[in-house]
């Protein structure tokens, strides 16, 4: 009797071109496909992850079943031949699957290694699957473990702290200039997405207040509300420069909106406190000559990209450490998983033998008469002694360490189950 199989099937940005991924991506949310999968025979536990870069199935197969073809058909539809589909797909089993899941959770398999979104996506996917009752004890354990592995990687390596992104680079530079960002004020010019993201990072670092300036005041107001800040019109721009420290500009304007003279005039009333300008607009919003003013630092999108490049180099080292952590944890899980197979067998075996003893004892006592309490106790003792002695060798056999380093626990479990007729 073969044990259940842990399988992972998936496509990601590495193996599969975007045209294929587009077709597979589950755009309608999780609930529909998860429910549809309930019809697939042989699926014991499963969960599904879909992001813009990957679609992955993690499943536990019922013993003796093979669900690969069914899942492939589910993913690619009937139009794609299975052989073609297999070219795009990776299918991992057992420990390999565990390791892959941990790599994904720890953001080591991401397109942007170290980005933090993936863990959130994983948690959402898991929540859906567990809500619909698709996961069982093994996947519950495994997914929770993957969250803690991700956390361990994040705390023990620097991989997360130097996530390669423009907004991270902006925060890093701001820290080099201001040291502590607490109490520093941010001005967003234009309400673009990139600016919003960068502002979010800065707020995460504890900046004081956020001011939003936008051509349409309504949009500025909505964004300002998000950060508990205030909205101003574009005419107030120069006046605002007196109170803010970090300026992120991303308007769609075709011309320069802030000139060197504008900023220079403000520096005196600012008492020369540094100003950090980030211009992520293309074409640029800010006069490149701003950078020539003392205590003013101007970075455009290309300058930030070079900081991003610098971070990338340092991160490779961290990835090695992170991968080691993942290896370690997947090995630990494998050991746990193995034990899981032996332990229920031991329990079942013990229960079966004890049940036989108790049954026969009851039968015998029914037929005997005039048995004293003392005699009864002795009979019971005898039965339990026989049970223990009969079980001794099979249990030792099950619990014994692998022989000559070869792991044959699965086989041993199968043998015992067959001999004692367990699970029937």
């Amino acid at each position: 009797m073969p044990a259940e199989r842990l399988l992972l099937l998936g496509v990601n940005h590495k193996n599969t071109p975007v045209e294929v991924r587009e077709k597979i991506a589950l755009s309608a949310g999780y609930d529909e496909p998860l429910t549809a999968l309930k019809d697939v025979k042989g699926l014991k536990e499963y969960y599904l992850l879909s992001t813009c870069n990957r679609v992955e199935f993690l499943l536990v197969e019922q013993p003796g079943m093979n669900v690969e073809s069914a899942i492939i058909e589910f993913l690619f539809g009937k139009d794609v031949k299975e052989d073609d589909a297999r070219n795009y797909l990776y299918i991992l089993e057992g420990q390999e699957a565990v390791k892959h899941l941990f790599m994904v959770a720890a953001s080591l398999d991401s397109m942007i290694v170290g980005e933090t979104q993936i863990l959130g996506q994983l948690k959402v996917a898991y929540r859906h699957a567990s809500k619909l009752g698709c996961t069982g004890p093994l996947l519950n354990k495994l997914l929770h473990k993957s969250f803690s592995v991700a956390k361990r990687v994040r705390t023990e390596t620097l991989i997360g702290s130097s996530a390669v992104s423009i907004s991270f680079a902006a925060v890093q530079l701001a820290k080099k200039i201001f040291g502590n960002l607490q109490g520093k004020n941010v001005l967003l010019i234009g309400a673009g997405e990139m600016a919003e993201l960068a502002a979010e990072h800065l707020v995460g670092q504890g900046v004081g207040s956020v001011v939003v300036a936008n051509r349409t005041l309504a949009r500025a107001l909505t964004l300002a509300q998000r950060f508990n800040g205030k909205a101003v019109s574009m005419d107030e721009l120069v006046a605002q420069l007196e109170n803010v420290d970090i300026i992120i500009s991303s308007t769609g304007a075709t011309d320069i909106i802030l000139y060197k003279e504008d900023v220079k005039s403000v520096m005196r009333s600012r008492r020369n406190k540094p100003l950090f300008f980030i211009d992520i607009a293309v074409p640029r919003d800010l006069d490149p000559q701003l950078n020539e003013i003392e205590n003013v630092y101007l970075y455009d999108i290309d300058d930030l990209s070079s900081v991003v490049e610098m971070n990338r180099a340092g991160r490779d080292k961290e990835a090695v450490t992170a991968t080691r952590i993942v290896d370690e944890e997947s090995l630990k899980f494998e050991r746990y998983y193995q034990g899981l197979a032996v332990k229920p067998t031991i329990l079942e075996l013990r229960r079966k033998v004890e049940a036989i003893g108790a049954q026969e004892l009851a039968k015998t006592i029914g037929k005997l008469s005039g048995l004293s309490e003392h005699d009864r106790k002795h009979l019971e003792k005898m039965i339990s002694a026989i049970n223990t002695k009969v079980l001794h060798n099979p249990l030792m056999y099950l619990k014994a360490d692998s022989c000559m380093g070869r792991d044959n626990r699965d086989k041993k479990v199968a043998t015992i189950r067959e001999l004692f007729g367990l699970g029937e």
């Binding site: 080099k176 201001f178 040291g179 020369n272 205590n295 300058d303 070079s306 610098m310």
Partner: protein, 275 residues
């Protein structure tokens, strides 16, 4: 005594060199364990310098700040302890490396001057000697820290402005921290410098009969003092900071060095004892 004195000097030289080497290793590797070792070695260097100055005091019978050698060693001692006292209050990333290099330079320069014990000229036989010279050199200690901070500021500022992130970018603290350091050290140094000039003036009244006689050393001290005064004043009134303040810290320190050596060698005057 003379042997012990010599032995102490050799160990100061050795230990300071090792301290600087350890700080350099830390600066390059950024290994925290190395920093701990480097710091411990620097503290031992500070202790040895103290012992050396004490033994020199016992050897010469007066406060050892009269010859060129003694002055520079005292300068190194002041810098070391100014740094350690500072470090004790708050840390500035990798500041120690720059200071250790400076301390090493001073100790090394002291080894170039002769170590002979000179007989004190009558004018210097006064209780004012340790006060005036000691306070002045402690001022120099703090001002030399400001110099290191200014140098670090300029290095980092250059990389930030040019957007070329090299060796120093990762290893230096924030501009803000360096500017703060600069301001603190200059303020402390300025207070001691003022005290040094005032005590010197009082002593001059006793020794030469006049508070101020425009001797080159006096003049240059005053120039230095004004350089720092302007800087502090401008910071308080119009917010001079950052690059300008860093440049001023470097210029001020060059003026300090000129007052200490330049005046003696190029200008002479009644103040030129150390030589």
């Amino acid at each position: 005594m003379e042997e012990l004195n010599y032995l102490l000097y050799i160990s100061v030289l050795g230990v300071t060199t090792v301290a600087m080497a350890a700080y350099l290793v830390f600066f390059i590797s950024q290994n925290k364990a190395v920093r701990k070792v480097a710091r411990a070695i620097l503290v031992s260097s500070g202790v040895l310098q103290t012992l050396y100055i004490v033994s020199r005091y016992m050897l010469t019978g007066h406060t050892p700040i009269t010859s060129q050698h003694e002055t520079v060693i005292f300068f190194a001692w002041a810098t070391t302890w100014a740094y350690l006292s500072f470090r004790w209050r708050y840390t500035v990333k990798n500041f120690g490396t720059f200071v250790a290099i400076l301390i090493f330079c001073l100790v090394f320069i002291s080894s170039l001057a002769h170590r002979d014990v000179t007989v004190l000229v009558p004018a210097l036989q006064s209780a004012w000697l340790p006060i005036h010279a000691g306070v002045s050199l402690v001022a120099y200690g703090f001002l030399s820290l400001a110099f290191c901070g200014g140098l670090m500021y300029l290095l980092l500022e250059r990389e930030l402005k040019a957007k070329k992130f090299g060796f120093f970018f990762e290893r230096l603290p924030s501009l803000e921290a360096l500017d703060q350091l600069n301001s603190h050290c200059i303020t402390a140094g300025f207070v001691f410098l003022t005290l040094g000039i005032v005590t010197g003036s009082v002593w001059a009244r006793q020794a030469w009969g006049t508070y101020w006689q425009w001797d080159p050393k006096e003049t240059w001290s005053l120039i230095t003092w004004f350089l720092y005064l302007v800087q502090i004043h401008q910071r308080l009134t119009v917010g001079w900071r950052g690059k300008r303040a860093a440049v001023m810290a470097v210029v001020g320190f060059l003026s300090v060095l000129f007052t200490l050596w330049g005046v003696t060698y190029f200008l002479g005057g009644v103040h030129s004892y150390a030589g």
